[in-house]
Structures are given as C-alpha cells and as structure tokens.
C-alpha cells in the first residue's frame, strides 16, 4: 500500500511534510489514508452537515483531512486532534455533544423518560393484578399443547 499523497494534490501539504520531516529527528511514519479516516470518521464539518468528514467530498472537508494528516505527522493523538478541531470550530464538529453543562440533558432525558415509563407500566401491572385476584378462577395449568390445539380450534371456528 503506497500513499504517495497524490490523492490530495495539495502542494502546501507536501511542503509542510518536507518541513516537518527535516525538523524532527525521528519522523513519525507518514500517516496513510486509513489512519486519517479513523480520525475523520468522528468529525463533522459545518459545510456539509450530517455527513462525516471521511466521506464528505467537498473541498472544505478535503482541506480538513489535510489538516488531520498534518497533525498526525506531528505525532498528535486522535484525542488531541479532535480537541484541536473543537477549539477551532466549536462543539458542532463532534458526532455527539460533549457531556458537559447544558448538553447533559441529551444523555439524561431519554433514560429518565424510559425509566418513568417502566415505572408506570410496573405500577399498572401491580394494580391490575390486585384487582384481578378475587376473580382468579381460570384453569391455568392444563397441558400446553392441548391448550394450544383447543385455542387454535376455537380460533379456526370463529373465522
């Protein structure tokens, strides 16, 4: 797998690679497209909303990917790069809002509502059962198979 950097075709990046490579004593290997995509996948550029950076085809996104390549070559980690993008372009570049401040609401509300729903359902079951108790006269222990057959038969008759 060769990565000749032809894909991006941006001379500036080539220049910057050169600069970086001459500066650093032990240059980190040139990142390949997969390493760039691994970071890009978790970022979204404001130009094409809702399309992750790794599949977005606009010029802006291409430049952003170039930026990721630059940062990777400087030895930055994925988290560092993501943080850099957040600082530069705001929280909106992340796939999900960072869990802080007002954003907590997005993570808290759905589980709360679901728990509440579960509670209501449970309570409904309990009250229903209580009301039902005295009228518990159904035979409920006949063998499963026969029950099924009789039920089926009844249903067939009804149709």
């Amino acid at each position: 797998m060769t990565s000749l950097l032809r894909s991006l075709g941006i001379t500036i990046i080539l220049v910057s690679i050169f600069v970086v490579n001459t500066k650093a004593q032990t240059p980190p290997p040139t990142p390949n497209d997969d390493q760039i995509n691994a970071v890009a996948r978790e970022l979204y550029c404001p130009v094409c909303e809702n399309i992750p950076l790794d599949v977005c085809g606009t010029q802006a996104c291409e430049q952003w990917r170039g930026l990721i390549r630059e940062k990777l070559m400087q030895g930055w980690s994925k988290e560092q790069i993501k943080q850099y993008f957040v600082d530069q372009y705001g929280d909106r570049v992340l796939a999900t809002p960072p869990a802080k401040g007002f954003n907590w609401l997005i993570y808290i509300i759905p589980p709360l509502v679901i728990l509440l729903g579960t509670y209501f359902l449970y309570r409904a079951f309990v009250t229903w059962k209580k009301i039902e108790k005295p009228a518990e006269n159904d035979a409920r222990s006949y063998p499963n198979q026969d029950e099924y057959v009789s039920r089926l038969e009844e249903e067939l008759k009804n149709r």
């Binding site: 809702n50 679901i114 059962k129 039902e132 499963n144 149709r159």
Partner: protein, 685 residues
C-alpha cells in the same frame, strides 16, 4: 395554458373542500342526510380534481414547458421520460402537489367504503381529512405554487409569478436546470412515493380516531375500521424507509444504509409509533383494553407525520434530504399547533370515557408482553425525538450549535432493539390472557437448543464479539420460535383436519392472516437484524492511492487497479470510470466499475460504488479521486460489509409479511356482521 388549468383546478378543489367541511358540520348538527351526502360527494370529487392538476403538471414537466419555473428548475432536455415524471417530487412545490394528490385519493377512497354501520363517523372523518387537504392545498396555492411562471419585466428582471405582472412577457429558457443528480436513481423513483403514501395514509386512522372522540362512540368500532388502514399505511411507510436506505447505500457513497440523519429519523418516528399502535390495537380488539393508549398512539402517529414533514420542509434542519429553505414554515407551524392542540383537547375531553374494562392477568400474558413492546417502541421514539429536537434547544439556550449524530442513536437504541428482539421471541409463546413461568419455560426449551447450536457455529466461524453473539443468539431464538409456531399450527391442523403439510400451511396462513403475516414480518425483521449486526459490528474499510497495476488488500480480498476511462454521455454527464479486478485468496472473482458521474447542467457529482454482493458480504468500492492527466494513480475506498444482503432479503420478507397481514379477508362480510352485531348490542346496553 395548462398551468392555468392546473392552478384553477387546485383553487376549485380548495373551494369544494371548504364547502365539504361546512356541509359535513351542518349535516352532523342537523342530523341531515342530504347535507351529509353532499359533503361526501364533495370529498369524493377531490381525488379526480387533484389528479387532473397533477396530470397538468406532469404534462408540463414532460413537454419541457420552461416558462413554468418549477419545470425550468427541475427538468432539462437531456432527462429521460421517467426522470421528468420523477421531477414531480424532486422539488418542494411539486412534492407538495404529489402529497396532496395522494391525500385526495385517500379522501375519495374513504368515501367509497360502506358507511352503513358507522354513519355518525362520516361527517367528522370528512372534516378531518378535508382540513388536512385544505392545509396542503393552501400551501400550494398561496406559497409554493408549482404552476408559477417566469416573466421578464421591462428592466430585464425575471420574476416568478402565477399571473402576469403588468407589461411583462413570458420568459422561456431553452433548457432547464435539471434534477438533482442524487435523485436520478431508480430507488428515488419509488422511495418518495412510498414514503408519502405511508405518511398520507395515516391520516385516515387519525380521522377515524378523531371522529370517535367527537361523537363519543368510543367502543371498539373505530379501531376495527382503522386497523386495516393502519396496516396499509404502515406497509407503505416501511417500504418507503427500506427503499430510502437502499437508495442511500447505492448513491450516497457512505458505505452504509442509514446515517441517523434528522430527516431519516423524522420518517422513522411515525413508523415507531405506528408499529406500537399495530401491536396494542390487537390487545384492544382481543381484550378490550388500552383504549386510551391506542387513541394516544394514533394521534401521536399523525402528529409525528406532520411534525416530520414540517422539520424536513421548513429549512430548520440541514441535511442531505432537506428541501431548500422555504416560506411555508410559519403556516406549517400554525397547522402543527392547531392539530396538536385540537387533538389533545379532544383526547382529554373523552379521556375518562376511554377507561378500560378488562384487566391484565399475568406478567407473562401476551397483553403484558405487548405492553412492554409498546414501552420499548416508545423508548426508541423518545430517543429519536430528543435527538432531533436537542440541537434546536441547544442553539436557543446556549447559542451553540451541536450535532447529534449516529453514535448517540446507536448506543441509546441498541439495547432497546435487542430487548425488542427478545420480546419477539417470547411473545408468541405466551398465551393470551394467562401464562406462567412453567408453561413459558417448557415452550422455550426447543428454541433454546437451536440458539445454542447457532452460537456454537458462530464461535467456530470466529465470532468473538460478545455483543454480536448476543445479537445472533437473539436472532436465532426468534427464528426458532417462529418456525416452531408454524410447525405447531401445521401439526394441529394436520391432526384435526387431516390436511397435507402444504395445505395446512396455506390454510393456517390464509385463515389467520394477521397472526401469521405478523410472524413473517418478524422473520423479516430477524433477517434484517442479521444484516444490521453484520454491517454495524464487522464492517471494515481501507483507503489508499494506488497506481495502475497496484493492489489494495482488505479482509482476504485483493483489489487491483486496472485502468480508468473518462468520457461524456449523451445525457450530459461526464463519467470517470475505474476498472478494478477483485481477487480472493489469489483467485480472480470479477471486475468492478466504481465511477463518478459529473452532471454538467447542475455541476454536481455522484459517486456510484462498484459492489460485489454475495450472501456472505459485500465488497463496496468507491472511486474517491484520480489523476486526470495520466490516469495512472487513483484513490479508492473499500468497504467490506458482512451480511449486509440479509438486510435487503429481510426487507423483502418483511414487506411480504406485511402484504399478507394487510390483505383483505376473503370472508369479510361474515366477520363484519359478527362485529356489527356485537357493537349494536354494545351500544344498546
């Protein structure tokens, strides 16, 4: 002049609908049959009338009458006939007409049903349907008019107007701008119509629900009428969503089928509440329970349809699917406020009359499990709703734009979907009314053995991810239960009636379409789940720039870049098409042709992947970039999507099952009579 005709017909339809509402209310208040018949005729007329308007628009589109702004914006000379027709729903104004058309057809169809036994519903069904129709007609006539023409006024300015401004001449372009290339895909020909059909047809159940609330006839009658409409609506909606994801897979070049885009979610939300309704409606029919809840679900579904349409069309969401910003927002908002307030007022007004008589008997009864099912669907709905609405909230309260993307939805909904799968396996085993741990445990034994076998097989095949194993296990469980259910039914019929295997299968399914159709739907869901687990958990990808003759490797596949050709087509595209050979373990399999089409007329490009599909996996190759001069080097992105085709197979099974469930019963009349008798006796009490 066709434009004038189309516009005029729409105005007439609006007037007739207004009259229909007035006549229906009059008829209901005076208990006057002739007013009611007149209202019914008015509604009957809307279908043919809007059809006429649609024909006008289609003829304009096909003829290329570029003096009409909509035609100039969405068609061009080079487009084939079917795409010119597709342009009907390619833009905001046209798709509103299309939507209105479907609604008017449903309106006409519903007047044609036999109203003998539920005449008191009729006026209010007419009112609800016509109010919705008038709203959409109003949007078309006053705000987004597809018949508006382009005029050149003396200063050389081009203006868009339905009626000629003073001293202006018609401005006719020689060619149009053409349809957005993303929409030029066979999937796009069917996806919007199905989705809109699904949306629109939920109006009918809603209309019956509101009619029941207004008249106070809150017995089971409305739910029995509504059931079939709801299944049909749900069938179309499901079909629309599935076709949409197939379209995304084929033309978006994401390597995926579903991006949790807000617009996708706004189509999913009514589907979720609709699905919940289909399940809980069964309980109301069988046990007379959950009346309040069913009413809530039907109303919610309709409101979500309107809400989703609003989100998509008002420009509030930016997404690949969203229409351009438009002036319809405020009017739409008013309509949403009106429908929400009106339906909630009515619902609360009748709330106490919708009390349930029968009670739940056991935690493991089918009803109880259906309720849990409803809870899960509602849970997913809440997650989706909150995810869509949260960016709005955030921008309003903190001024910060945020993105709520796939990771949020995937993590939040995955456990709920898994629970739904589990439930899908348990519910058929639990008897109606009552069941206990012992009975349940006994019937689970056989499926459990099957699950174990499948899991052992999966582990041997190298699946190590515990979540994937859980998913596969659940799928196997549901599948085993469904097969077991069919087998038990067939065995029982063979025993009782002495039928042959196939006859028994046929009779079983056709005699109880809803139950066995339902099982087939579940089977489809399980197959789809297989595909989803495959792509979500085992998708891998690689990207690289290679020169001619060089190779890329992914998951045992080797891809060799053989060449690239760039050429123009007669329909105005510039195509860059790469030829790559696919090898697996050194053996040549086939050539793939990933390409990129550049559309001159709207300067957009579409990435068409080259895909090799097998039952096991898809190899999905996208041409990202290339060296135009020498065509020597090109960048490819390759996705390996295991099991993805089971998603599509599952969808087909799913739709088949839905068709079976929705198919009209043969001996309908007898069923109806029986129901009617029950209801008469009920209302006499």
């Amino acid at each position: 002049m066709l434009a004038n005709l189309g516009y005029g017909v729409l105005v007439i339809t609006l007037l007739i609908s207004l009259y229909g509402i007035a006549a229906a209310i009059q008829g209901a208040r005076r208990k006057n049959t002739s007013w009611l018949d007149s209202a019914r005729n008015a509604m009957l007329l809307t279908g043919p009338l809007v059809t006429l308007a649609v024909i006008c628009l289609v003829v304009l589109l096909v003829n290329g009458n570029y003096e009409v702004e909509y035609v100039a914006s969405y068609t061009s000379n080079s487009m084939p006939l079917y795409l010119k027709i597709t342009a009907l729903w390619g833009g905001q104004a046209g798709s509103l007409v299309f939507w209105t058309w479907l609604l008017s057809i449903f309106a006409s169809a519903v007047t044609l049903r036999d109203w003998q036994r539920d005449r008191e519903f009729l006026p209010w069904v007419i009112v609800v349907v016509l109010v919705t129709l008038i709203f959409f007609l109003g949007l078309i006539i006053f705000i987004e008019n597809p018949f508006a023409r382009l005029w050149e006024i003396p200063g050389g300015m081009i203006v868009k107007s339905m009626f000629p401004p003073s001293i202006a001449v018609l401005y006719t372009q020689t060619d149009g701008n053409g349809l957005n290339p993303l929409l030029r895909h066979p999937g796009m020909v069917l996806h919007p119509p199905m989705l809109y059909l699904g949306f629109v047809s939920f109006v009918i159940p809603f209309a019956f629900a509101i009619a029941a609330l207004i008249t106070g006839r809150t017995d089971d009658r409305w739910i029995r009428i509504t059931r079939r409409w709801a299944i049909i609506a749900w069938l179309f909606l499901s079909l629309g969503i599935v076709l949409g994801s197939r379209w995304a897979y084929d033309v978006m070049g994401w390597g995926g089928y579903w991006a949790w885009d807000p617009v996708e979610i706004s189509a999913l939300m009514p589907w979720l509440s609709g699905t919940a309704f289909l399940h809980s409606a069964i309980i109301q029919e069988k046990r007379g329970m959950l009346k309040q809840w069913n009413m809530v679900l039907v109303i919610l579904t309709y409101d979500l349809v309107i809400f989703g349409t609003f989100l998509t069309r008002s420009g509030m969401l930016s997404s690949v699917h969203a229409f351009a910003q438009s002036a319809i927002g405020p009017l739409f908002f008013a309509f949403i406020a009106f429908t929400f307030i009106a339906s909630i007022t009515l619902l609360l007004h009748r709330w106490d009359e919708l009390k349930t008589e029968e009670r739940m008997t056991s935690l493991f009864s089918k009803e109880a499990l259906f309720l849990v099912n409803n809870l899960l669907f509602m849970g997913i709905l809440v997650i989706c709703f909150w995810g869509v609405i949260f960016p709005l909230l955030s921008e309003l309260f903190t001024g910060q734009k945020v993105m709520v993307g796939p990771p949020y939805y995937e993590k939040a909904t995955a456990p709920l979907f898994a629970a739904l799968l589990l439930l899908m396996g348990i519910a058929p085993l639990a008897a109606w009314g009552h069941s206990n741990y012992k009975a349940l445990g006994k019937s689970i034994r056989l499926p459990a053995i099957f699950v174990l076998l499948i899991l052992i097989y999966a582990v041997i095949r190298g699946v190590k991810n515990p979540w994937a194993l859980l998913g596969f296990g659940l799928c196997a469980f549901v599948m085993a239960v469904i097969v077991y259910e069919f087998w038990r039914g067939i065995r029982a019929r063979q025993k009782i009636k002495g039928e042959s295997f196939f006859k028994a299968l046929w009779q079983l399914t056709t005699r109880n379409r809803r139950r066995y159709g339902g099982y087939i739907i579940h089977l489809g869901v399980v197959l789809m789940a297989l595909g989803i687990i495959g792509i979500e958990m085992f998708q891998s990808e690689t990207q690289g720039t290679i020169a001619q003759g060089e190779q890329l490797n992914l998951r045992g596949y080797t891809l060799r870049y053989d060449g690239l050709s760039i050429f123009d087509t007669t329909d105005g595209r510039n195509i860059s098409r790469a030829v790559v050979s696919v090898y697996k373990d050194g053996k040549f399999l086939q050539e793939l042709y990933p390409r990129r089409d550049y559309y001159y007329e709207n300067q957009q490009q579409v990435t068409i992947p080259g895909v090799r599909s097998t039952w096991e996996d898809d190899l999905y190759v996208i041409l990202i970039d290339w060296e135009p001069v020498s065509a020597e080097g090109a960048t490819f992105k390759i996705f390996h999507n295991p099991l993805i085709n089971w998603l599509w197979v599952g969808s087909i099974v799913f739709i088949l099952g839905a068709l079976i469930a929705a198919w009209p019963e043969r001996d309908q009349s007898t069923v109806r009579n029986r129901v009617a008798k029950q209801n008469y006796s009920a209302s006499e009490v």
